[in-house]
């Protein structure tokens, strides 16, 4: 880890000056990033579908 990497939190994050790739500063919170991530909704949708199938079967 880079020596100046501070701890992260769910608050708006900061970026380090020592990076392997250019990181765009994020202006939204991590919660918003999570809820706006399409990848997140795929497992959520599959989980809900699984619960519905389970309810039907059981």
């Amino acid at each position: 880890m880079a020596p100046d990497c501070g701890p992260a939190s769910l608050a708006p994050p900061t970026t380090s000056s020592i990076c392997y790739v250019p990181v765009q500063p994020t202006t939204v919170s991590r919660w918003r990033a999570l809820l706006g991530d399409v990848h997140f909704w795929i497992p959520v949708a599959v989980l809900l579908a699984g619960l519905l199938v389970l309810r039907w079967i059981a």
Binding site: Y20, R30, V46, L47, L54
Partner: protein, 424 residues
């Protein structure tokens, strides 16, 4: 993306090697987890069996990380990428629902049809890995063929093995059974999205599993309460099961060792290769059943040998189709995308992806770690004192040989992971 640091090709080869070895070790340990459950005689509802196993899993998933890295290191990981706690718990929920569905699938259509259906999760894993995480991109035709052909061969082998190990034809509702098995496969295949997400964002496998199991136990408790008819009946079933509690907790513990290797496989070779490799657990489960518990004594060994050879050939094809440097670069791009989205330090993500973790090397243990380890040990010792060994014909020689084999994998995988990544 032009500033992504090139990973040394020799380092990449070592990471791929350790990931592939972890996949095979995962298969061996996940398969061995079936052995203690075979000691449990009939009369216990399947949901209760699943619930007790998850209790064992929960104990192992908090005590092992506490022992190896310390809970302080887990806290450090969470500070870096707190959103992954939610991803991990979500993966745990997916696992619990899938596992419960498999119980109904076996009940309605039998293991021979159900097992290959939910084992199709590896094909879904290849799809998600390619679509969402740049896996197999720029890998070249030969590697595509190796992974897809290998997964298809393993699927065919799994079908043969499942047919051979089918003991009796079920008399259930086939539509519900097929729906349950396919849904379980979809849930298990999708569960690897959070796995890959975590490892592209730098989370340590031992931290990920600690939060995974919270979702797993929470969801399993809700399902067990719902399907058993409430807390009273569930408690009654648990109390009746105390003589076999140890065997099921042990199965959960063994399963966790396998799952840890599976996590490292997902991290270092990706989900498109990691899932099929750990699906060799079916082969190991069958070896335990056949050699130790005398299953298939009445015949069917030809199909077993053919299925085993197909599975081994498929796994071999995948093992040889390791990611080249240009594909790894696409993984790094996916990691950079995650670090930008969630604001995780990019150098932290890149270092963790390359297996660089100083956390374990300077592990510091607190009182909480020792309390967790002692509490888990006390539960295991207490349940062992109540346990009874069922009167079963067991091939002890084969049991010793297979135990030696899985410990061989544990030793080889553990040494390789320590030397290459310090369990990072």
């Amino acid at each position: 993306m032009d500033r992504i640091a090139e990973l040394d090709p020799a380092r990449l080869r070592r990471l791929q090697g350790v990931g592939t070895l972890s996949g095979f070790a995962a298969g061996a340990w996940l398969g061995a987890a079936e052995a203690p459950t075979k000691l449990v005689t009939l009369g216990i509802p399947p949901v209760v069996i699943s619930f007790i196993m998850v209790l064992g899993v929960f104990l192992a998933r908090w005590s092992l990380p506490a022992l190896v890295r310390g809970t302080a290191a887990v806290r450090d990981d969470v500070r870096q990428a707190p959103h992954l706690v939610i991803w991990a718990a979500l993966a745990g929920c997916l696992w619990a629902v899938a596992n419960t569905l498999t119980i109904f699938a076996i009940k309605h259509i039998g293991l021979s049809i159900a097992f290959p259906l939910w084992n199709a999760n590896s094909l879904l894993g290849i799809l998600w890995g390619t679509l969402l995480f740049n896996e197999l991109r720029d890998a070249g035709r030969a590697r595509w063929l190796g992974v897809l052909g290998g997964a298809a061969a393993m699927f065919a082998g799994a079908t043969l093995l499942a047919v051979a190990s089918s003991a009796r034809a079920p008399g259930g509702d086939s539509l519900r059974g097929i729906a349950a098995a396919l849904t379980a496969g979809a849930l298990w295949g999708t569960m690897y999205i959070p796995y890959r997400k975590a490892y592209l964002t730098g989370m340590h496998p031992l931290s990920f599993v600690a939060f995974f199991t919270i979702g797993e136990l929470g969801m399993m408790t809700a399902l067990a309460l719902s399907l058993s008819g409430g807390p009273g009946p569930l408690w009654g079933e648990l109390a009746k099961s105390r003589a076999v509690l140890f065997w099921l907790l042990l199965a959960g513990f063994v399963w966790v060792v396998g799952d840890l290797f599976q996590q490292y496989a997902a991290k270092y070779v990706g989900i498109s290769r990691g899932i099929p490799l750990s699906n060799t657990n079916q082969l190991w489960g069958l070896l335990w059943g056949m050699l130790v518990f005398g299953e298939l004594a009445g015949g069917g060994r030809g199909a077993v040998i053919a299925g085993s050879l197909l599975m081994a050939a498929g796994a071999g094809a995948i093992a040889f189709a390791s990611a080249p440097g240009r594909e790894y670069r696409r993984w790094q791009e996916a990691g950079a995308r995650e670090s930008a989205r969630y604001g995780v330090d990019a150098s932290y993500v890149a270092a963790r992806m390359a297996g660089d973790d100083a956390g374990t090397a300077r592990a510091r243990h607190t009182l909480l770690d020792w309390v967790l380890v002692l509490a888990a040990t006390a539960v295991f010792v207490g349940s062992a004192a109540l346990a009874r060994v069922p009167a079963l014909q067991v091939g002890w020689g084969w049991a010793a040989a297979l135990t030696l084999a899985i410990f061989g994998f544990l030793f080889a995988g553990g040494v390789a992971l320590w030397r290459t990544t310090r369990f990072g």
